[in-house]
């Protein structure tokens, strides 16, 4: 894993499929030539007031004397690295020392993403999205509910529905769609146009790509 850039392709896919919270248990410190310096157990939790996922405490790495070019840190399981973050500079240790990460928040951002939904995404991943609901303006009237499943369609991290989402509408003006994990709204998306149903009909969503 390169030490000079932030990489998270593996992490993106794990996040999308299953969430990170139960998968990230270890942090490791590396030199620029990819030699492991130290490993520490870590616990990340979702901070609901900050809407960010972060370590429960400082991560303190021990560094032995003579270690040169300390370069980056990774997080992952006991055997797999999911995410790497490089420091702005390298560090040389001529004596015994420590490198402490005192802040490392993660965030998911998106135009239609709900703050409460982020916690569910870090916890259970995008594959937990199971329900789509069609609403009128202001979510005043629920027009229809459909079960949905999403799948990761490439290793770069793109998510798409496994089938068209087809809403049955008796009557009303379709305005927005919400995606749910269990009872939590993850996405709240306004349709490009409103659609007025004076007689029963269907509204089909044939494409919804979520990319990281």
């Amino acid at each position: 894993m390169a030490g000079t850039t932030e990489t998270y392709d593996e992490g993106k896919v794990v996040l999308m499929e299953t969430g990170w919270t139960s998968y990230v248990t270890h942090a490791r410190l590396w030199t620029d030539s990819n030699v492991e310096v130290d490993e520490q157990s870590v616990t990340f939790t979702y901070n609901t007031s900050e809407n960010r996922w972060k370590p429960t405490g400082d991560i303190v790495f021990d560094v032995v004397a003579g270690t040169q070019d300390v370069s980056y840190v990774t997080i992952g399981s006991s055997t797999v690295e999911y995410y790497s973050k490089a420091f702005a500079t390298l560090y040389d240790f001529t004596t015994l020392g420590t490198l402490t990460i005192d802040s490392w928040p993660f965030n998911i951002t998106g135009d239609y993403l709900n703050d409460d939904g982020k916690e569910a995404l870090f916890g259970t991943g995008f594959l937990g999205i199971a329900t789509a609901k069609l609403y009128t303006s202001g979510s005043a009237v629920l027009l229809d509910t459909q079960s949905v499943t999403f799948e990761v369609t490439n290793q770069g991290g793109q998510l798409e529905p496994t089938a068209n989402i087809i809403f049955d509408v008796t009557s009303g003006i379709a305005y927005s769609i919400q995606l749910f994990i269990s009872t939590t709204v993850v996405y709240n998306r306004t349709l490009d146009s409103t659609y007025t149903f004076t007689t029963p009909g269907t509204l089909k969503v044939d494409s919804w790509a979520i990319s990281l």
Binding site: T89, Y91, D92, L99, T100, I210
Partner: protein, 39 residues
């Protein structure tokens, strides 16, 4: 419909016993070496 969702992180560290050293800019050095070779 496509949504560009992003995941990002910011890190803050404290170092005891270590000395900062600038990262070597490999691309810049490559360019310098190329220029030297062309002299």
């Amino acid at each position: 419909m496509e949504d560009k969702t992003k995941v990002g992180s910011k890190i803050s560290i404290k170092v005891k016993g270590g000395v900062e050293k600038p990262r070597e800019n490999k691309e810049e050095n490559k360019e310098k070496n190329k220029n030297k070779a062309g002299e």
